[in-house]
């Protein structure tokens, strides 16, 4: 089986894959045991599988692992930990911005990528940045409050 080498959360990881078209998501979740990114649709429609590849938020369910070869992949696990959360993760915790939480890792990844581009984004900016991330529980308001907090628009 061919090998694919990825730089995941700063570590160089080499994985044997039968099918170079295997989506990055399956490699992360199964071979690398990084289950933070979730399978939602496999169609790039919902955003639950979002990871950051070379600075861009991408849908890992629709990216062949071979396309990520040699690239820097940041997953939700690499963004922060419960003890040392990324500022956006801290904002999500402060705003209690999850219900079932299945979509939330993708939300955080898309939101973090947007905040990296524009640290002081507005509510409308946040709504556009997360337009491709679906939430079924209706946590949108709490997530927008978390984005506002991370953007410095709410008291911390």
């Amino acid at each position: 089986m061919p090998n694919v080498t990825l730089i995941v959360n700063g570590d160089t990881r080499t994985v044997a894959v039968r099918d170079p078209d295997e989506p990055l998501l399956y490699v992360l979740r199964n071979a690398l045991k990084l289950t933070g990114a979730k399978f939602g649709c496999g169609l790039g429609q919902c955003g639950a599988c979002t990871v950051i590849v070379d600075g861009n938020a991408v849908r890992s369910c629709s990216m062949p692992v071979s396309s990520a070869s040699g690239k820097k992949v940041t997953t939700i696990e690499g963004l922060g930990t419960p003890d040392k959360p990324h500022p956006l993760q801290a904002a999500f915790i402060a705003e209690q911005a999850a219900q079932c939480g299945y979509c939330v890792a993708g939300m955080v990844m898309s939101g973090a990528a947007a905040l990296a581009r524009k640290p002081d984004l507005t509510r409308a900016d946040a709504q556009q940045a997360l337009a491709g991330n679906l939430c079924r529980c209706g946590t949108h308001e709490r997530i927008l409050q978390a984005m506002a907090r991370a953007a410095g628009r709410r008291a911390t």
Binding site: R18, T35, Q99, C100, G101, A105, L130, T139, E141
Partner: protein, 753 residues
């Protein structure tokens, strides 16, 4: 116990308590528990899960009797307390709220409580986590067990001291003399034993005025893990030696397998076909191999076209077959009052909708050697165990169903179906099998919210009050005493299961919550549903409140009265009046009749419900803008006033309210399942769109806390006024009455004429 101690029998009560509890303690039955502190809020969730599993395995054999304190509560040697809850956290916050209720009664910090949820080997059967019952029944039951446990601990300390229980209180994990001095830790009092006392319905719960834990917006323990990717969902759980399975659903409802070309997946090493009658699946060691094989497998199916199609539902509902007609409400003589009256009429239609959980259903089963363990996101592990044990031909006691978090569940989605898939496949291959549904599986095959059709007529008195009201509804009739919704895998595998449909209580709230002298509600019960139905959040009440509160608005407009003033005039319940006043104030409601036909297309709408006429009170005011050229609706602001009695955790409650509002806006604006004569055709997020961030309005929530009233439940009620509040806002904006969901641009343009 302490209640008795307070009655003044100072001599008798300690002896009495000693005999009650000393005998229990002296029984010295081994109390199974695992050691090690488990501080829920401050550990990595993966570690929490591992410890929870270890602790859970060690506790097998404990009583599951909901009548026993030991069914719910164990005091551990390290001073922590384990609470065993049959109700589960589906994302609604029970994981903090139930510990808050228990902690308050026990007199212990919430961080010292370990919660075990929905494990048939460990937790009492408290019924399904459904119908807004998590706190109301589940939490209240545990609260009573905790109050009993507190009295038992106090009695033990009192017996040691030879004093009355009334001289002690339970504070911070110790029983302390009220007069001061050293306390005794619970773990020392219980000394490794069980409580061995029945839950005492008379055990005195603490006075709400003294609450220090209940009523606080304590953070949910699962959120740090969820936002850092560490929380273990069922989708993330791994069992040693497990295979990945994918079931191939037929191309049409009711289609049978003609043949399967097993060689068609030969290119994928290790993948193989499992066939049980019409249940076709592939299994493989590697998940992507299973996905690939499922896509490659060639199977031929019989043709099948048993459905009415989405376009045919509304006509089908009128014609039936109808099982029976039933008059649910009859006050005065509505028919007579309407005969010569100037009538207002309206017909309202709610389409078939999908639960559309964001993560497709997933489960893992290990069925070997005459035993089965199933890990599932089931809302009702005990109920599912009965069904799956029969299907596997195993005794109930040989089957354990363990809850793990799934993707949001708002009624019954595909989780029990996926668990049945996994169980049958595991039994067939004698290895643990994980089944993960695809997006098309979930949208195509999850049980659906049934359609509803309502026809209303009413009339006003000469002074503009409601005189007469009739509601007729056409809705599927749930099968009486059906033990479980029929499961796809059992059906495909030819395993006999009781036939029927489940819907929830979908006929409630079809009558107005207002003073109306002549009213009648008539139900035409349909024998079947267009697609397999199940309960979906606030079953039936979303559509019924849509019809009732839209119609109330139509009557108010006919009376040329302000919609809020019109409702208040016809309402006497002070709690209803309070939420209506508060919601109106939140959005700065100015009295005037609708429609205003604002030049900019901005309108405001109002709706109210007293949920089931005996649960929570909710009023919603909404501001929406209508683009007159395109028909597009933009919801600008939603204001909700909410009274669910005693509030346990206002933070989690607010999130539930916001979720109800946003999810129901989604259902109202965007959602209808598309299906032809054979199959569901809206099988992805493009063909079944839901609300997105740019559509999310500002939300204002005002929570009325009534600490001295019972908790009433909040998982559903605030969903129900949403559609009517929006329809009424559109009417106010442009004078067009929307009566069919979803409110598409085409429908808005058509209604504007």
């Amino acid at each position: 116990m302490s209640a008795r101690g307070l009655t003044g029998h100072a001599q008798a009560s300690p002896r009495q308590m000693t005999s009650n509890h000393a005998s229990a303690v002296l029984a010295r039955r081994a109390f199974l528990q695992a050691g090690g502190a488990l501080i829920v809020g401050f550990m990595l969730p993966g570690a929490v899960l591992a410890q929870r599993v270890a602790r859970a395995d060690a506790a097998i054999g404990k009583t599951l009797d909901a009548g026993d304190v030991d069914g719910f509560i164990a005091v551990n040697a390290d001073g922590s307390v384990t609470i065993y809850s049959g109700k589960v956290d589906l994302g609604q916050g029970l994981r903090i709220a139930i510990p808050q209720m228990a902690a308050e009664e026990l007199g212990i910090g919430v961080e010292r409580i370990v919660l075990i949820e929905g494990d048939t080997a460990l937790t009492p059967d408290q019924g399904a986590t459904a119908g807004s019952s998590g706190i109301v029944r589940g939490g209240v039951q545990i609260r009573q067990a905790a109050a009993t446990a507190r009295e038992a601990l106090i009695a033990l300390a009192a017996a040691r001291a030879g004093k009355a229980s009334s001289e002690f209180d339970a504070i911070d994990g110790e029983v302390r003399p009220k007069s001061g001095g050293a306390g005794i830790r619970y773990a020392e009092l219980i000394a490794g034993n069980r409580f061995s006392v029945k839950v005492d319905p008379k055990a005195k719960v603490r006075d709400p005025a003294s609450y220090t834990v209940v009523g606080k917006a304590l953070p949910r323990p699962d959120i740090p893990g969820k936002v850092t990717g560490r929380h273990v969902f069922i989708h993330d759980f791994i069992v040693d030696d497990m295979l990945h399975g994918r079931v191939i659903r037929p191309p049409a409802v009711g289609a049978k397998v003609v043949d399967v070309d097993e060689a068609s997946i030969a290119a994928i090493p290790g993948a193989r076909v499992v066939r049980i009658a019409n249940l076709i699946a592939v299994v493989a060691d590697n998940e992507w191999d299973a996905v690939s094989a499922a896509r490659m497998l060639k199977a031929r199916w019989s043709t099948s076209a048993p459905l009415v199609s989405d376009a045919g539902v509304r006509a089908w509902m009128r014609t039936g077959p109808i099982d029976a007609d039933e008059t649910l409400v009859k006050k005065g003589d509505a028919r007579a009052a309407l005969v010569n009256a100037q009538k207002v009429t309206g017909e309202f239609y709610w389409p078939v909708q999908s639960h559309a959980s964001l993560g497709p259903s997933c489960a893992i089963a290990d069925v070997r050697d005459g035993r089965a363990t199933i890990w599932s996101a089931s809302q009702a592990t005990h109920r599912f165990r009965e069904t799956i044990a029969k299907a596997l031909a195993l005794p109930k006691d040989a089957v354990r169903v363990v809850y793990l978090d799934g993707s949001g569940c708002y009624g019954m989605n595909g989780h029990d179906d996926a668990a049945a898939d996994a169980a049958l496949l595991s039994k067939a291959v004698a290895r643990p099998v994980r089944v993960q549904w695809s997006r098309a599986d979930e949208h195509g095959w999850d049980p659906k919210a049934p359609p509803q059709l309502l026809s209303l007529e009413g009339a006003l008195t000469s002074d503009g009050s409601i005189d007469a009201w009739r509601t007729e509804m056409w809705i599927p009739k749930a099968t009486a005493s059906l033990p479980h919704m029929p499961l796809l895998a059992l059906d495909a595998a030819g395993i006999v299961q009781p036939p029927g449909i489940t819907t929830g209580l979908i006929s409630q709230n079809g009558d107005p919550p207002y003073a109306v002298p002549h009213q009648e509600v008539l139900v035409h019960w349909l024998k079947d549903a267009p697609l397999r139905p199940s309960n979906f959040r606030a079953p039936g009440k979303v559509a019924n409140c849509f019809a009732v509160e839209s119609f109330t608005d139509m009557l108010a407009a006919a009376a040329h009265r302000d919609p809020v003033e019109f409702r208040l005039h016809a309402l006497s319940d002070p709690r209803g009046i309070e939420v209506i006043r508060r919601a109106a104030a939140l959005i700065d409601w100015r009295p005037r009749p609708s429609p205003a036909r604002d030049a900019a297309g901005i309108g405001r709408g109002f709706a109210y419900i007293h949920y089931k006429h005996n649960e929570s009170y909710v009023a919603i005011a909404m501001e929406a803008a209508v683009d007159k050229a395109s028909g597009a609706i933009r919801v600008r602001r939603v204001a909700c006033a909410h009274d669910c009695g005693l509030v346990i955790n206002p933070g989690a409650l607010r999130t539930q309210i916001e979720g109800n509002i946003l999810q129901t806006l989604s259902r109202t604006l965007f959602e209808a399942v598309a299906f032809d004569r054979s199959r569901v055709t809206s099988v992805d997020w493009a063909s079944y769109p839901i609300l997105r961030f740019p559509d999310a309005p500002e939300i204002l929530v005002d929570i009325v806390n009534r600490p001295h009233e019972p908790p009433l439940g909040a998982g559903e009620a605030s969903a129900t006024p949403v559609p009517a509040a929006l329809a009424n806002a559109v009417f106010d904006a442009v004078g067009a009455r929307l009566t069919t969901v979803p409110f598409t641009r085409e429908r808005v343009r058509a209604a504007m004429g």
